[in-house]
Amino acid sequence: MAEVIPTKEMPPGLQVENVDDRIMTLNVGPQHPGSGHMRIIVKIDGDYIVDADPDPGYVHRGEEKMAEARNYITNIPHLERPVIHDSCNILYPYVLGVEDLVGIEVPERAKYVRVIAAELNRCIYIQYWLAIYGIFLGHSTMFMWPAGDRELFIDLMEKISGARVTHAYFVPGGVRNDVPANFEDVCLRQVNYFEKRIKEYGDIFYDNPILKARTEDTGVLSREDAIRLGTTGSVLRASGVDYDVRVKEPYDVYDELDVHTNVLKAGDSYARSKVPWLDMLESCNIIRQALEKMPKSGSIRTKLKPNPKGGLDEVYRRVESGRGAAGCYIVSKEKPEPYRLKLSVGSFRNLIALPYLLKGEKLGNMPAVYWSLNYWPVEADR
């Protein structure tokens, strides 16, 4: 007869885990300098990660529920909150969807202004992302340079929209105000200067042999797995899938511009971090093209009824944001408010790849893999 060991009664809700001596559980986050606003429960055996469980939700604020109580216009400042430094792009699918629901046309000039604003925002986002990628790898210069050069684009966005981060600039039917006089010259000058700076990033960061040795062949996501996991944006393109919503399903005037998709084959952390860098160059190209082709004058906003209503209808629109495809699903029931609004965002879709990639990696690779997924915790929580 085996002796029955008397167990202490645990308080309700407390779990008792079987503790293995070899396995150590680390709570990476939410107050960890390398986690962002989320927690990754990492189990390590020595220096190897045997299990990783992402636990987002620390910045969940119920944007989707809040949107059901607000009309189509007052939703605008709210829906850009999840990614304030990419606020134009996160708002873009919503605005396109409402335009479909209400049935209004956008003036040609407004479409170009939207494209310019969206690409400027993409640069702002990628620089912010790159800054954090730099500091995650212990490269403090790569934190400061993009964070400083981001000022160039913030300055441009502020000239257009009057706000530095939360622009609230796109509205159904166009944009809220015209660009200021001589904006084209200023924009061209700053974009040209920034292209020179991008080369410097290459010298000190991307061509750095230590960085390459550190991030190459870590967290390899094969082409098949990238498709199977449903990743999107730069993660997908780094794995060799040629997919960009701007090219495949062009919205506004992207079909009139020459957009090049940056695809790398390797699928490792280095490739995943290099694709956004190439995307910034591509954004500069697009901005230059759009400035050239933009009608010099014309209407900028189609007037909307004061309280627009959608029909008994539903719509799903998607755009390419800084983190991949951002979709907006609106169910309308003939009311000024959306009946249900769902944001499908790149961060949330890329999150699924995190536990898949982290298993079997070294602990030292965790920041490199985690942040190369182009993940923004606030957006994933919405």
């Binding site: 960890h32 300098p33 212990g138 403090s140 210069t141 790569m142 960061f205 750095n208 040795a213 602990l363």
Partner: protein, 458 residues
Amino acid sequence: MSVIAPKFRLGYFLKGIFDNAFWILTIVTLAGIPLIQIVLFYMDLPVIDGELLTAFLAFTWLFNPTMQIPLIKSLLYSDLFRIAAFPGFGFAALIAAATIFVERKMLAKLQLRVGPFYCGKIEGLLQLAGDGLKLISKEIIIPAKADKPLFWAAPVLFVGTAAAFVALIPVAPGGWVVADLDVGLLAVFAVIGFFPIITILSAWSANSKFPFIGGIRALHQMVSFEIPLILSLLGVVILTGTLNLSEIVESQSNFPWIIFMPIGAIVFFTAMLAELERIPFDLPEAESEIVAGWLTEFSGMMYGLVQLGSYLKLYAFAALFVIIFLGGWTGPMFWPPLDTELIMEGTPIPNFKGDPVLTVHAPGLPLFDKDPNEWVLQEQGELQYTSGQLLINGVIWFVLKTVAVIFFILLPRGVFPRIRIDMLLHIGWYKLIGLAFVNIFIALGLVYAGVLGPGGIM
């Protein structure tokens, strides 16, 4: 729009001042005055001009203009001064503080920002003092179930070991070193060997996961890089045939060893970066992976002490590099030293008949020209004479070279990312040790070819 904070009350302000005054007075009377008495009445005091210094004499001479300089001189040549001020702790701490300032400003310049700017009016000179005050005034938090004695001891031990390291560094000719050992280099390695022990003890005693992982990493790193560190210096030891650091410096009066052993210098520099936990080898403190590594649980002045210790260590390593590879204090004189006789005996000026009527003393440097214990040493037969010019010249060269090395230690922080533990161990065990052996073979070749070393041409 500057408005006094609404909570401000004059009564509290005055109470704070009185509180402070009360505690300062109490501490001075209870501890300060007894300390002064102990120093004055119970310590070994120097002999000045044939008279044993007593408290009475010291107080008297303090106000006697002719005896002030001998008094200060006797202080300068005492062991206490060497340990606390000039070649020892104070000097090193000053250079460490300057290092922190330079690091901040240089890194800021590289990263297109301004760095500390407002504290101290000029480019944030006093920022470090502000940071020190902040650290002192912060609460010290000790994790629950930590091993308290060890946890408290670790920062103190760290600073103590770093200071012991500093004590072995000669900075100027004529024995300006706290401990002039014949086995100086071995002593250096012995002291370096303490750091991993302190690190792992503090990491273990904190009873926390991240310090533990950081401590293990530090242990790996320091132990595996000590071997190339030692091996890279063997070449110099073979060529000079001595372990005494002062003699190693003197052997380089014609050319620094880096000319013959660049490989050894590179290996030593790399291993030095790893021992110092500087980027790109700052794995034990990798913030994005393990918060702050083995420093995670330190707070307040405990953290400040560890930082002080690590910057002292940085100075000591840079100085070691200068001593062994860059020729220490040797360098062209800024002004040629005067003859000993000119200073001590003066030049007799004869009158027209040829009889000496006047003796002109050449102006030496009043504080450094002569050892006050000269007559004692003369009797013992070991008079040391250091010219003031030689001392100042040596210190200037030494500091210049050290600052240059420190600059190169700081520079990678702005340029390189952190590497991974397996890459680090690979570099340490495969590449650096191999290169160190290549360096040793070069040294042996030079010796056997008869070019350098004991019995060589030079």
